[in-house]
């Protein structure tokens, strides 16, 4: 138990520190690296909760795909960090005060948190005991039945994101070569191959 507690605090602290570093690091590449660190530690928290599947998805998808993509983008764009930071110090005092006030207020709110005895009764879907059922099976049981609506809605959101990305960035340039399968299939030897009689020794 004590190990779990220690692990929880370790992961949590590293996650928060890494998150702070993401926004405060001077070099955007470092930011992305801290982001990856935060993701890893979140995955650790999931493991502690017994949600190994989510932990693995976290690592594979976020670290493996998203964060790496970020890294590419950041390196390709060559963002001028100094420009972005212009005015940061100028607004820091005021922004800092407001942020601090908000933070303290939220701490007060969180301080009032109690798990009322009835809460567990109201849980829409109680977490199954990990030993009874595997992670993936538990998810599979509900994701296409009880939560099919949410799942599909999320799917459509991703579709929109995809459409958006294409709409905003895709351009058909002059001179780009596209693979047209029908053209390839329909291509016949007569169109492309010219058979020439070459008399020996004379060249073309």
């Amino acid at each position: 138990m004590i190990i779990q507690t220690l692990a929880f605090y370790l992961f949590s602290i590293i996650t928060i520190v890494a998150a702070v570093m993401v926004i405060s690091a001077r070099n955007p590449v470092h930011s992305v690296l801290f982001l990856i660190l935060a993701f890893f530690n979140s995955a650790g928290l999931f493991v502690l909760l017994g949600a190994e599947f989510l932990a693995m998805v976290m690592v594979v998808v976020y670290v493996g795909a998203v964060a790496v993509l970020f890294m590419f983008v950041v390196m390709m764009l060559d963002v001028n960090i100094a420009e972005l930071r212009q005015g940061f110090l100028q607004y820091l005092p005021l922004g800092g005060i407001v942020g601090l006030v908000l933070l303290m207020e939220l701490a007060v709110v969180a301080g009032g948190f109690v798990i009322s005895p009835e809460v567990s009764e109201r849980f829409a879907a109680p977490i199954p005991v990990p030993s009874d059922i595997a992670n993936t099976e538990a998810l599979g049981n509900i994701i296409y039945t009880k939560y099919v609506y949410f799942f599909q809605a999320a799917g459509i959101i991703l579709l929109v994101a995809m459409i958006g990305a294409i709409v905003l960035t895709h351009r058909s340039r002059e001179g780009t070569r596209k693979q047209r399968i029908s053209n390839q299939v329909n291509r016949r030897p007569e169109d492309t191959i010219e058979i020439k009689k070459v008399s020996t020794g004379s060249g073309i």
């Binding site: 207020e105 939220l106 007060v108 709110v109 969180a110 009032g112 948190f113 109690v114 009322s116 009835e118 809460v119 567990s120 109201r122 849980f123 829409a124 199954p128 009874d132 059922i133 538990a138 049981n141 509900i142 039945t145 009880k146 939560y147 099919v148 609506y149 949410f150 599909q152 809605a153 999320a154 459509i156 959101i157 579709l159 929109v160 994101a161 459409i163 958006g164 294409i166 709409v167 905003l168 960035t169």
Partner: protein, 493 residues
């Protein structure tokens, strides 16, 4: 552990149809010939939206839940969805000329509108914090893309980026509020929340209250209420005009629908907590909408402030619904609000169609001065725009007056006199800039004529919206009945 039963799909049939249709439209767009695709998909989208409208009408029968209580279909939803679907299909209709002119006539545009509309329908039907959020995000994401649709224009791109970043921030606030509510109550379902707050907990945990504050803030961003309105003028100005038209109408109405549903539903009994915020943002929106618009020269910016003001007026109805006590009075507030939103739809649709007609030598013009002397060069359009402006200013006997009348009446009945008085004063100030447009059109020296001819669709939209605005006072029956049924659905018993 056995599998949970598969939920009933019928109550969500319109949404399911719309989702599938959107994907089919996408396929049609991709596989039809390039020059034809946009036209085909546009008209097909309108047909799809109309079929959805019919389906919504057929399906809605009392209050039905599905997807484990995450989705609700009721008369209130019917009312809002009808408005949203009308707005979306009309927007597609009036946007075609603009898109063709600016070389962005792509089939993705109607598809995005359809998907945004789907998000709106989901928002309106949300009966769970998660479905609320998913619907909202689906809608928002489509809108972000649309704001930047004219990607070669820096203004459009800037608008899209601004909207996206601020929208993400607002989503964050909203999500934080949702988690607070979930954390302190243990449920995301609206019905459970309603039960929870009506029965046992007399003293509401502070986490719920602050959660509501965050949720209200997030939703206030979506309806562009002060102080979460800052994005509105910039985005309205920068986005392509048809997109602005769409922004001003459908998402506002849908977000208001969602706002009403969550505030009167799960948090209905906590009105004591949130009424003050609503009163505050309502007053702030009315005042800012009235004052800030005065100095605007760009008509799209002006319309942005105008819509901020209008949302302020509509929120009066919500404040009335937050007056704990007599259920009839609370329903009255929503009733007024729904009437206001319906009228808002027609006025804005007409106005934006007129704005879309402001083109000279195949270029759009957006300044108020460009309307100078319109009464001489194009008397019909000047007359139509005058009707819309007078209506927005709330001058009897036009529709806008009816809307304001019901809203202010409900406020007075709920004894929220301060709100009603500020509302009336703000509309007096607001009348100034609406009437200034009329003055420019009728009394200033004529500018060059706008391009002719006007397409049949746009003429049709202007005539229909103009007629509704002008004659609503004569035949208010259907609207009043619909709004009454819709508001009654929220306050059973």
């Amino acid at each position: 552990m056995s599998l949970a039963p598969f939920p009933a799909l019928l109550p969500a049939l319109p949404e399911i149809f719309l989702a599938i249709a959107a994907m089919i439209l996408l396929m049609i767009g991709v596989y039809s010939r390039q020059e034809q695709s946009a036209r085909i998909v546009s008209y097909a989208s309108i047909v799809v939206l109309i079929i959805t409208l019919i389906l919504v009408g057929i399906i809605t029968d009392g209050r039905t839940l599905t997807f484990g209580g995450a989705f609700v279909s009721d008369t209130f939803g019917l009312f809002i969805k009808t408005l949203v679907l009308i707005a979306s299909s009309a927007t597609i209709l009036i946007s075609r000329d603009y898109l063709i002119m600016h070389g962005i006539n792509r089939f993705e545009f109607p598809v995005l509108i359809v998907l945004a509309t789907l998000g709106m329908l989901m928002m309106v039907s949300a009966n769970d914090l998660i479905s609320l959020y998913l619907g909202l995000e689906l809608q928002s994401l489509s809108l972000y893309v649309m704001a930047a649709f004219q990607r070669d224009s820096t203004r459009s791109a800037e608008a899209g980026l601004k909207y996206f970043v601020l929208g993400a921030l607002a989503s964050g606030l909203l999500l934080y509020g949702l988690t607070l509510v979930y954390g302190f109550s243990g449920t995301t379902n609206f019905d459970s929340l309603t039960k929870l707050f009506t029965s046992e907990h007399v003293d509401v945990p502070i986490g719920i209250t602050i959660g509501i504050v965050f949720i209200v803030s997030g939703l206030a961003f979506k309806v562009s209420a002060v102080p979460f309105h800052m994005w509105t003028p910039d985005v309205y100005e920068g986005a392509p005009t048809p997109v602005t038209a769409f922004f001003a109408i459908a998402p506002k109405i849908a977000a208001m629908g969602l706002f009403i549903r969550i505030m009167t539903g799960p948090f209905g009994q906590l009105a004591g907590e949130w009424q003050q915020i609503i009163i505050f943002i309502s007053i702030a929106s009315m005042i800012l909408g009235a004052f800030a618009a005065i100095n605007q020269r760009n008509i799209k910016r002006l319309m942005a402030y105008s819509s901020i003001g209008h949302m302020g007026y509509a929120l009066i109805g919500m404040a009335v619904a937050g007056q704990l006590g007599d259920t009839a009075t609370r329903a009255d507030g929503i009733y007024g609000m729904l009437i206001y939103l319906a009228i808002y739809l027609f006025m804005n649709l007409g106005t934006f169609t007129c704005i879309l007609l402001m083109k000279r030598n195949s270029r759009m013009v957006e300044n108020i001065e460009d309307l100078a002397g319109l009464s001489k060069t194009n008397p019909a359009m000047a007359a139509a725009l005058t009707i819309f402006m007078f209506s927005m200013a709330g001058i009897p006997p036009l529709a806008g007056f009816v809307g304001k009348l019901y809203i202010f009446q409900s406020a007075i009945r709920a004894e929220l006199f301060g709100l009603a008085i500020i509302g009336v004063l703000a509309s007096v100030v607001g009348a100034f800039y609406y009437l200034r447009i009329v003055k420019v059109m009728y009394f200033d020296k004529p500018e060059e004529e706008f391009d002719q001819p006007v397409s049949l669709e746009m003429n049709g939209v202007i005539i229909v919206t103009g007629a509704v605005t002008l004659f609503l006072i004569l035949f208010p029956g259907p609207l009043l009945m619909g709004a009454a049924a819709a508001s009654a659905a929220l306050f059973p018993g």
